[in-house]
Symmetry: none
Subunit: 198 residues, 4 copies
Amino acid sequence: MKAVNKHTKIITAATKVFAQKGFFNARISDIAKEAKVADGTIYLYFNNKFDILLSVFEEEIGNIIVQVKKLLAEETDPRKMLEIFATKHLTVMKKNKNLAEVIQIELRQTNKLIKDYRNNKFSEYVNIISDIIKLGQEQKIYRSDILPGIAKRAFFGSLDEISRVWNISLETNYTVEETASQIIKIFLSGMLVQPKPA
Amino acid sequence: MKAVNKHTKIITAATKVFAQKGFFNARISDIAKEAKVADGTIYLYFNNKFDILLSVFEEEIGNIIVQVKKLLAEETDPRKMLEIFATKHLTVMKKNKNLAEVIQIELRQTNKLIKDYRNNKFSEYVNIISDIIKLGQEQKIYRSDILPGIAKRAFFGSLDEISRVWNISLETNYTVEETASQIIKIFLSGMLVQPKPA
Amino acid sequence: MKAVNKHTKIITAATKVFAQKGFFNARISDIAKEAKVADGTIYLYFNNKFDILLSVFEEEIGNIIVQVKKLLAEETDPRKMLEIFATKHLTVMKKNKNLAEVIQIELRQTNKLIKDYRNNKFSEYVNIISDIIKLGQEQKIYRSDILPGIAKRAFFGSLDEISRVWNISLETNYTVEETASQIIKIFLSGMLVQPKPA
Amino acid sequence: MKAVNKHTKIITAATKVFAQKGFFNARISDIAKEAKVADGTIYLYFNNKFDILLSVFEEEIGNIIVQVKKLLAEETDPRKMLEIFATKHLTVMKKNKNLAEVIQIELRQTNKLIKDYRNNKFSEYVNIISDIIKLGQEQKIYRSDILPGIAKRAFFGSLDEISRVWNISLETNYTVEETASQIIKIFLSGMLVQPKPA
DNA sequence: AATGAATGAGCATTCATTCAT
DNA sequence: TATGAATGAATGCTCATTCAT
């Protein structure tokens, strides 16, 4: 565990500082202090402040992607897969509030500042959802009139908004399981009372 | 349209500038120039830069609330009401991209910076959704095992994420109607293929 | 007493505000509020902020000069005259702390900013001292080797420094009479123990 | 003379700039330019503009105190000691007009702005005078009815007012020796013609 | 004469970035 | 590699002054 390389130390420190203060209020010196390196050292590993933010996304989300994909590889039922995604996402966001805040707040700033920032890890992450939906449609489990490109946004947006509210603690916090269950219930079966089959 | 008072002119200008540049990158002088007033004039109407942002939220979202509530007052079916909300939200966000960006991006900064900023217009807006759900549950139209507090977040999050992506134009834009239809389909009936009633 | 003209009201207000905040920290709006006039009105009576300061000096010191000269006109003994000046100066400065501060602090700023500001009321005031000394020298009461130009500065400086300290209250306050008595004692007879005449 | 540390360079530059323009009219950039450092560098050594002013007082007056005390240590006659103080004070103020102005003008602002700023170098400096007077009273050289607390103010005020006028050059400049001689003459023996001892 | 809303020049301070060591 | 002192561009806000009413 010792001898963590400086690159990683800086990324970890930056994630924490960005989450606590936000990108614009975070100071390079804050990150340097948190990472226990000199201010100038940061510029040996990153081009500028914004580059650190981008790296935080790429690396942290990259980690999640690896974990999620690993979990999904062991499952074939598209219904279960969606639930796995929801549970994993909420679990990670609840455990790592720093990362959650960075994703929720700064990711938006980022997308805005560099609209051509495509093929990024974030897109890759959200596309896991549409891939599951497409798989379900092929298996005739998910309705064919659902557009995966819209549904993936709806599904991710739901999870994101919920974990956003967790972080600002305005409301009662349900458990990850309760919440994931609700989301799955809504997305799979909808909110309507089901007509009793005859 | 002429003789718009300065307060309103500044709010409108600020909405545009915040949307284009983000709160931190927006300059008071940018807002002043956009509003065609002197920099100092802004401080006759607002205490500081942050106060402008708060006012933008309050006033712009306040307007939407009025419009949405007016539309909903003419409808009693909770299913239709949810569709009205979705359609109206997406319509406004597509038409007024400035406002959309401010809500999506800056609102999050705001909530983060002032976590105790409750009882605000934004909460009032999102609570319209849970009110509709509760109404539907009373009428036995919506399932009683759906938690309105979670469902409202899921529903709003879906709409928000979709309009966010519209703004950064990373993907094909569906029409408001198509999109609202998809969202309603998912939230009312779920994504599962319905078992054929006998 | 009613219907005091605005010019006077502004001078009085400015004296108070300058004394409380100092010239640079005083705001035109502070003076306007104190004088119960609009900000713009001040510019109907004065050219600019600095002009107000100059007017305060001229008028307030002018008043003192009139009073001092009146008192001195009734006295012929140069020893008594110097005591009258000291007592009057200290009395006015103790009673009107606003004016005292303005004179002590701002007058110095003023002289610095406009070094060519001669033939002013302040000079006229200090010259009363040298006139008394010259009169005493003519009457062979004051030593002829005393230079009135230096002695007037020493005498005024003594009084000024004492009233300055009164205002900032760093030390015990003696009464006007005690203090004037000490000053007169020092300036007339010196601090040395007098050799007993045989 | 080379390799003067930045702290000292800034103090020296600030003394000059404050003297020339006054504290409020002095710009940080003026001081930076004079000290040949970047604006931001000043904030590595001082907390803010006002802190620079305070430091100028403390350090410059501290230097004078050291010099004066050194001179006084070689003298035991309270009459000579007072003359030494007067001569030294006038010499320093005549030579270093920047410092003289800062002391005369800004010190007053300072005392006003921070009335609780006690135990400062300035008090220490003025108390040298009262210490000399008390010493002379113990030796029965100075009259016991002279109050040292008032006399020190009178003596300092005299010197201060004279050097103030030197700086604004409104009148003929006497030499330091002539002036110190006059002051000593007045304070030791008074201005009255001495009665001839029989 | 009087008002006070509007103006816009002006500045202390911050902080991302550099670079001599 | 690593440091951290130094840089200097950048900006929110203030307030003396103006001027339409």
